[in-house]
Symmetry: C2
Subunit: 611 residues, 2 copies
C-alpha cells in the first residue's frame, strides 16, 4: 500500500526562499489586517494540513478506488466507506473555509496556502479531494458575480462545507463546444427560472457527504441567441433552502446514473437530469460563459495540482521501492552481503526518479508562484501590480493545467515502471496513480484546448504583450546571471530558449494572420508550443532555485544536502529534460502542412479541409 | 464498444511490395517443398485470420476485461465467458499449428504469416491471445532443445492446441534478476526431477481452456552453482501424460492465487506453487537460461506485437470517433448544415491520428521484416544469408519489443485523448486499450532491460559489427536516393541520423571501456539510445515505403489514394515524429554525470555509488 509524507521542507523553501512570500503578502492590506499571512502561522497551518491528509485521507485512497460510488434506485448516491466521516472532520476543522472571505465565515488565508493544501489533498486522495475542490470552484464564481441575496444565503453554507457545489457544463453532444448546449431555462416570472436538460460528467454531482448540493448550471434562457452569447449561469440547489438557510423542499434535479470510469472511482461522476428544476440567475443574463470561466480558471489550476500531487506521491513511492528492491549488481557492488544491490544504484532507475523530482519540484514552484500572483492580483494595493499579476496568472494557468497534468501522468507511468511487474498489480497502488492521473489531461478543457487557450487567446490575442512582459523578466535574470560560475551554463541555455520562444511566437503569429488557414496554423502548433513554453518557465524556476541553493552551499548552510540536491536536480533538468525543446522547435516549425493531408488518407468519402 | 477491421490492405502492401516476400520465401526449400509460401495461399490464410479475430475475438474483449478470471478453492481457474468456446474454434481451425513443424502436426507456414496472425489477435483481444501466445513460446523452446522423447510426447498436443504452455521464470524476489531464483530441482534418479518453489506472474498459468498445461520452469538443480550458470529448464505438466499421450495423474503444481491487475484481466496471471512436482529436464543441465532465451526472444517480438496491435485498434477507433463527433468550427466551416464540424478537421486531432498511423505502419513494416528475417535465419539455404538474418533478428528484437510497446501505449493514450471525457468512461473501451497496453512496456524484460540488451549485448559486445552491417544497408539506400526529388529530403535526414547513431555508439562504447564507471554510462544511455535507434529504423522503412508509393503514383496506379496516404504519412513522420532524435542526441550526450547525484538527494542514509 502506498505511503505519503507531505513535502513540507520543499514547500517552506519555496515560500520563504524562492518567493519571499511573507514579505510579499505583508504588502497587501487584506492579509495584513486579517493577520493571516504571518510566516509562522502559514507554516503551522501547513503542518496541520499535512497531518490531516496523511492520517485521514491516504488510508482511504485505495478503498475509494475499490468500492467506488453506488447509485440507488431513488437517485441517491453512497460514497465509499470512510469518505463522509473524513469529510465531516475536514470541514469541522475549518479546511473548507481556509482561503474564503471572512464575511461569509472564511478564514481569509492566502491562496498561496490553500494552493499547498490542494496539492497535499491530491497526493493523498484525488477522488476524495474533488468533493471540496468542486465546492471551492462554485464558491469562487458565486462570490465573484452572485447577487448579495444569493451570496448571503449560499456562501456561508459552502464555506462551512455543510453544502457542496458542482459545475454543470457538459452535455452528451457538447463538451469542448459549450455553444451548442441544449439545457434550457424559462423565466418563472417570480425571480426564479425553470431549468431543464441533461448534464453529464458532473464530478461530485451526487453524494451523501453533505446535506445539500449547489449546482452551477449553464443553460440557455428562452429567447436568448444561439451560441456562447446566449448562455446564462444558474444556481440550482438539490434542496431549495428555506429563508433561514435550512434545507427545504427537494428540487427537480436527479442523478440518472453514475459513470464507470478508468479511475477517480471514489468520486461520483453523475449524469444529472434537470426537469423544470428551480434555478436562480447568477450574474447577468447571457454572460454565463464569462462567469463560468471564473470557476474554470480556478478548476484549471486545481487540475494542474492533481498532476502535481499525483506526480509527487508516485515519485515518493517509487523512491522507497527503488531503495528497498534488491535486483542485479552494480559495478562495483554496493551491497555485497545481500544477494543483489538496491535498484536505485542503476542509472536508468535514477533517471526515472530524477525525472519525477525535477518535474515535481519545478511544478510546485510554478504553482506557488501562480498562487501568490492570484493573491497579488486580488489584494495588492497597487493597480499596476494587480494588473501585472493578473496577466501572469492568465498566461500561466493553461501551462499549469496542461504541463503539470502531462508531466504528472508521465511521472506516474515512470514510477510504476520502477516497480516492474509489481507496478501492474493493484495491491501495490501504483497503477491507481496512473489511472487517476489520466483524467487530468482530459477534463476541465483537454490539454489540447489549454494549448489553444495559451497560444491563441493568452499570447496572440494581445499581440504578445503578456509574453513579452514575462520574457523581459526572464531576460533580466539571464543578464544578471549568465556569467555565474555555477549556473551560467543553464542560464545561457534558458536565455536562448526564451528568445527562441519569442521568435517561434512571431512566426506562428504571422502565419495566423496570413489568411483563412491561419487558424489551422495556430491549432497545429499549439500543443508543442505549450510544452516549449512550459520548459522555459521550468527552466527559469530551476535556474533561480539553483542560484539560491548554491548561495546556501557557499555559505556553509547545507547540513543535510537539501541545497546540493536542488543544484544537482537543476543540472539533471537542464541536461536531461530541457533538451526536449530541440525536438519541439523542429515540430512547431514544420507547421500545419504535414497535417493537411488528403482526406482519403483518413478514409473520408468527401473532401473536408483539403480540396 | 470498439470495433476492428484487420488492416489487410497494408499487410498485403508490405508482403508484396516492401518485402517481396513470396520471392524471398521461394528461395527456402522448407517453404518451397511444403508449398506454404505461395502468395495466394498466404493471402487466403490472412483473410481467414481476419474473419476469425473480427468475428470471434473482438466481441470477447470487453467481456474478458469486466469478468476477469476466477480461482476456485481447489486452485482451478475459470476464464471469462466465451473464452473457452472461442479457443476450441481457434484450435480446431488449425491456428495453433500455423507455423509449427509438420513433423508434429504443424502446417509449416512462414513466420511472416504467423506474425501477422499475432498482430491481428492482439488488436482483437490481447488477454485472450496470450493463452495461445504462451503456448507458442513453450513450443519454440521445446522444439529447439527438447529430447526426442519429450518432443514426441508433448509437441503434437501443443501444436494441436489441446494442451497449452507457460513460461515460469519470475519469483517474488527475482524478476529481472533470474540468477537469484530459489526454485529447486532434485534428481529423482529415474530420469525425472522433483521441482519445488513458488513462481509468480505466470501468464495463462492456470485456466479451463485446455485439458493440460505444460509449464516450462527455471529451477536450480541440487548441487548446481549459484547465479545464472546454475539454472536448468524443466518441463512440469499440470497432468502427467500417460505413455500414449493421454492426460494422467495430477502433478504437484497448484495455482495459489491470481493477481488483480491494471489490465489484461481476461488472462489468468497465476502464482504457482510447485511442491515436489515431477519435472523433466529440457536441454542441458545448467543451460536453462540459454534455452529460456529461445522462448524469451519469441515472447519479446510477441510483446512488441501487442503494442502494435493495440496501437492499431486504438487508432482505428479514434479515427472513427473523430469523423463522427461534431464539436467546434473549422475556418472555413466544412459542415454548415450541422451544429458543428467533425473534430477530424482540427489539425491537433489530425496530429494525434497521424501519430497513430505513422508509428503503427512503420512498426508493422519492422515486425514483418523481422519475421521474414526469422524465416531466413531458419530456412535459407545459404549460410551467410542465415547468419546475416540472424544478426538482424538479434539487433531488432529489443527494438521491436520496447519501441513498439512504448509507441503502442502512446498511441492508446492519444487515441483515448481524442474521445475527450468519453475516453475515460469504460463503456467506450478506449481506456481498456490504455490499461492493456501498459503491461507490454513492463513484462518480458522491462523496456529498460531491452535497451540494455540492445546497447550492451547486441551492439557493443561484438564491437558494433551487427550495427555496422545495418548501417551499411541504410547507407546504400541513402546513396541511391538522396537526390530523389520526392523523398530526397527525408533520405538525407535519415543518412545523417544513421551516421549520428554510429558516432553516438562510438562515444558510449569508449566510455563503456574507460573504467569501472563504464557500465553506468551504458546504463545511463540505453533507453534514449534505443529510441534513437528505433527512429532510424522507422525512418528507413518510411523512406522505402514512400519511394515505392511514389512510383505507383507516378505510374498512375493510385486510384483510392492508398499510395498518396503512404507518401503523406512519411512526410508527417519525418517532420513531426523523427525530430525527437534531436532531443535524444542531447540527452545521450549528457551521459551518466547528471545521474550520479549525491545519495542524500534520495534520502539514502549511506552513500551507495557516490563517495
Amino acid at each position: 500500500m502506498p505511503t505519503y509524507k507531505a513535502p513540507l521542507r520543499d514547500i517552506k523553501f519555496l515560500i520563504n526562499e524562492l518567493l519571499d512570500a511573507p514579505a510579499e503578502l505583508a504588502k497587501m492590506p487584506y492579509y495584513a489586517e486579517n493577520e493571516t499571512a504571518d510566516a509562522a502561522l502559514m507554516e503551522q497551518v501547513l503542518d496541520e494540513a499535512a497531518r490531516f491528509v496523511e492520517g485521514e485521507l491516504v488510508p482511504l485512497n485505495a478503498v475509494g478506488d475499490q468500492q467506488g460510488c453506488v447509485r440507488h434506485d431513488d437517485g441517491e448516491v453512497t460514497t465509499p466507506e470512510g469518505f463522509k466521516a473524513a469529510y465531516d472532520k475536514y470541514r469541522k476543522a475549518g479546511w473548507t473555509a481556509l482561503d474564503a472571505d471572512p464575511n461569509y465565515g472564511g478564514q481569509g488565508m492566502p491562496h498561496l496556502v490553500s494552493n499547498v493544501l490542494v496539492e497535499l489533498l491530491n497526493s493523498a486522495n484525488v477522488a476524495w479531494s474533488m468533493y471540496p475542490g468542486l465546492s471551492h470552484g462554485a464558491y469562487s464564481a458565486l462570490h465573484a458575480v452572485g447577487s448579495d441575496e444569493l451570496k448571503d444565503l449560499y456562501l456561508p453554507k459552502i464555506v462551512s462545507g455543510e453544502w457542496t457545489g458542482t459545475m454543470c457544463l457538459t452535455e452528451p453532444h457538447a463538451g469542448t463546444d459549450l455553444g451548442i448546449i441544449r439545457t434550457k431555462a424559462k423565466d418563472n416570472g417570480d425571480g426564479t427560472y425553470a431549468v431543464s436538460g441533461t448534464k453529464i460528467f458532473i464530478s461530485a454531482g451526487e453524494h451523501d457527504m453533505a446535506e445539500n448540493i449547489v449546482h452551477l448550471v449553464l443553460a440557455r434562457l428562452e429567447g436568448s441567441p444561439e451560441g456562447t452569447k446566449g448562455i446564462s449561469l444558474f444556481l440550482v440547489p438539490k434542496y431549495l433552502p428555506t429563508a433561514d438557510g435550512k434545507v427545504g423542499e427537494r428540487n427537480g434535479v436527479v442523478c440518472g446514473s453514475l459513470e464507470h470510469k478508468m479511475g477517480i472511482n471514489g468520486n461520483a461522476t453523475a449524469l444529472l437530469n434537470f426537469d423544470g428544476a428551480t434555478g436562480f440567475l447568477v450574474g447577468e443574463i447571457n454572460k454565463g460563459m464569462n462567469h463560468m470561466f471564473i470557476m474554470m480558471n480556478a478548476a484549471r489550476l486545481g487540475t494542474g495540482l492533481q498532476g502535481l500531487g499525483l506526480g509527487e506521491v508516485a515519485y515518493q513511492n517509487a523512491l522507497a521501492y527503488a531503495k528497498d528492491r534488491l535486483q542485479m549488481r552494480h559495478t562495483p557492488r554496493v551491497n555485497p552481503a545481500e544477494s543483489a544491490d538496491p535498484i536505485i544504484v542503476h542509472p536508468d532507475v535514477r533517471r526515472m526518479l530524477l525525472t519525477g523530482k525535477a518535474y515535481t519540484e519545478a511544478g510546485r514552484a510554478m504553482a506557488m508562484w501562480l498562487a501568490l500572483s492570484i493573491d497579488t492580483e486580488h489584494h495588492h494595493p497597487d493597480e499596476a501590480a494587480r494588473k501585472e499579476a493578473g496577466d501572469l496568472v492568465a498566461l500561466l494557468t493553461p501551462i499549469a493545467k496542461a504541463f503539470m497534468t502531462d508531466n504528472g501522468f508521465h511521472i506516474a507511468v515512470q514510477s510504476q515502471q520502477i516497480f516492474g511487474g509489481h507496478g501492474y498489480i493493484r495491491e501495490w497502488g501504483m497503477e491507481q496513480f496512473v489511472r487517476d492521473a489520466r483524467i487530468g489531461q482530459i477534463y476541465e478543457g483537454t490539454n489540447g484546448i489549454q494549448a489553444l487557450d495559451l497560444l491563441g487567446r493568452k499570447v496572440l490575442m494581445d499581440g504578445g504583450k503578456k509574453l513579452q512582459k514575462l520574457a523581459g523578466m526572464l531576460q533580466e535574470f539571464v543578464d544578471a546571471n549568465e556569467e555565474d560560475e555555477h549556473i551560467g551554463e543553464y542560464v545561457t541555455a534558458l536565455g536562448k530558449a526564451s528568445q527562441q520562444l519569442g521568435s517561434i511566437t512571431m512566426v506562428v503569429g504571422q502565419k495566423a494572420m496570413s489568411g483563412p488557414e491561419g487558424a489551422d496554423e495556430v491549432n497545429a502548433a499549439a500543443v508543442d508550443y505549450l510544452r516549449f513554453f512550459g520548459h522555459v518557465v521550468y527552466g527559469y524556476l530551476w535556474a533561480r532555485m539553483a542560484k539560491i541553493a548554491q548561495e546556501k552551499i557557499d555559505a556553509g548552510q547545507d547540513k543535510d544536502g537539501f541545497y546540493l540536491g536542488k543544484v544537482q536536480t537543476a543540472k539533471f533538468y537542464f541536461t536531461k529534460l530541457f533538451p526536449e525543446i530541440k525536438a519541439l522547435a523542429a515540430t512547431i516549425k514544420a507547421g500545419n502542412e504535414p497535417l493537411a493531408v488528403d482526406d482519403r488518407l483518413f478514409g473520408l468519402e468527401r473532401a473536408l479541409i483539403t480540396a
